[in-house]
Assembly symmetry: C2
Homo-oligomer: 320 residues x 2
């Protein structure tokens, strides 16, 4: 009897398995990791990689549309700039990375894809806490193209809420280093959901508009465009809008954008590699102007997608 | 000839492998993941987990010393508090998590261990970007105990530099949610290395002392202790120092600590689960007081380690 009780108190230890049996599903795509091309189910990072434990990593995402990369050079510039600022090195030069990205897309077979290149601090072979001793790890993958806004939202405009969360300021983290520090954005997103909105805009340290989860913000007033200047990711789609405005003779500036200016704008839209230019027609339950997608937004959206076939702005994926 | 050239231009695509061949080495330990206990080499997170892509995760680390967990209850309180704030749910209650942590340590065989429990946002089975649709993922692991300071540094005191990097402010991220947002700390650490120091202290938004990579900061002046009050992780070792001071009748307050106050202190030390109480004897190349480990620091260090055998502060691991 006492033995039975003892056995009950001291539960036998479970066994240690050799190999993880992964119950999760993964999107269709191909990743590059440690010299191998692999299905997305195999694209994993050790929990001990500082890229996970300290979010000590940088990345960039470029998209493929109708079999063509869009502005790949600008994404590569930003990625290599981030590596340098974080003092990371990868065993590939620019041409090497381009080849890997092409291979990931071609092997996936996707004609429209969301393509990410990333580098983590890695870990030290001696398990030292000193990041200088870590071996940095490069990875890349191509998965189906995704968008911040769905088809209905692109048609009628997104409904956005302004959260009081403050975007991590540049004095803490240089936003020109594209990074995975998103908890401020994620908490802003939950604030937006709580108020019945579809996505969030969060503020900069002075209470002006900063950005949202994965996108920059623009507003149009009297045919002039403005977008927040400081404390935001220098987005490639944001830059593309500024380039399109220059081409079209539209006035556009990066400056402080107050919450009031956003609410009183004629048009508002957001920009992201994940979806391009996406209209916003409601903020905190109030319609922007007449609540319809505005003419300048529509015009820029059309131009943006036209540029995807233009060899000056895009390059073909080398499919087999 | 033209065929050869064509073949050369269009390199054959590499093959996609079924399984990742991992060239990296991992520390000796045991992890829990998806219901399995696994060696550390198998403890991985998908690159598509929002816990990686958005650092959307919370965690806690507790240590085991001489076969006993130290203040496990306080670590569990903080972990479950973080889960609630991030609106994450795990399929284990407090007792379930305790059992998993005991199993990881017992299976590892380590008598002194660094034990981490963590939860990531996970991913959505439909690959939606909406974090509410993600299935949160719990993981835990036990690896050998590590310390911010090595044996020599514990003896003679750490040499620290003050970086001008600003700790991510509470308006952006609530520091009571223990999180992996560390790029500010990592860049501060590189600043310190550049100046020949061993670790860094970074500032809060008002230019006062905040914390360092993985530790809180204390200074002693005229036998009174102070530690930064706001914008810092409410560390369990920090709390333990405050508890020891109360027990010993030493005055200790959480307040603003200026850089000048730190430089002019009689004694400075840092606190972390990874190492406990660790003396600092040099800041930016200047000795603190006489450059020796001070008497209050030494006394608190001794008390701290004594408490590891005290059943009021620690609990035995259930080894087989």
């Amino acid at each position: 009897m006492s033995q039975t009780m003892a056995r009950h108190d001291a539960k036998p230890l479970p066994t240690v398995s050799d190999r993880h049996v992964d119950p999760h599903s993964y999107p269709d795509g191909v990743a590059f990791l440690d010299g191998q091309y692999l299905p997305m189910s195999q694209a994993k990072v050790s929990v001990l990689d500082w890229g996970f434990l300290h979010s000590d990593a940088t990345y960039d995402t470029v998209h493929v549309w109708n079999g063509r990369f869009f502005r790949l050079d600008l994404h590569l510039d930003r990625f290599f700039g981030g590596l340098e600022k974080l003092r990371m090195t990868i065993p590939f030069d620019r041409e090497g990375v381009i080849e890997i990205l092409h291979n990931c897309v071609a092997l996936s077979g996707h004609r429209s894809a969301y393509v990410e290149m990333l580098c983590t601090r890695g870990a030290s072979p001696t398990f030292s806490r000193d990041p200088r001793q870590a071996v940095n790890r490069f990875m890349a993958f191509a998965v189906p193209f995704g968008s911040v806004a769905n088809a209905e939202q692109l048609q009628r405009g997104l409904h956005v809420a302004i959260s009081d969360k403050v975007r991590i300021p540049p004095a803490s983290i240089d936003p020109a280093i594209k990074n995975y520090h998103w908890l401020d954005l994620v908490r802003g997103l939950y604030d937006a959901y709580d108020r019945g909105a579809e996505t969030a805009v969060i503020l900069d340290f002075n209470g002006n508009v900063a950005e949202g989860p994965g996108f920059n913000v623009f507003c149009v007033k009297d045919s002039k465009l403005s977008t927040p200047a400081i404390g935001v990711l220098p987005g490639i789609t944001r830059r593309t809008v500024l380039d399109l405005c220059a081409e079209q003779g539209l006035a556009a500036v990066a400056t402080d954008v107050s919450v009031a200016a956003l609410r009183e704008a004629d048009e508002v839209f957001i920009t992201s590699t994940a979806g391009g230019i996406m209209p916003v027609t409601e903020i905190d339950g109030d319609r922007i102007a007449n609540g319809k997608v505005g003419p300048i937004t529509s015009r820029l959206m059309a131009l943006y997608w036209q540029k995807h076939d233009d060899p000056a702005w895009s390059s073909p994926v080398q499919y087999p």
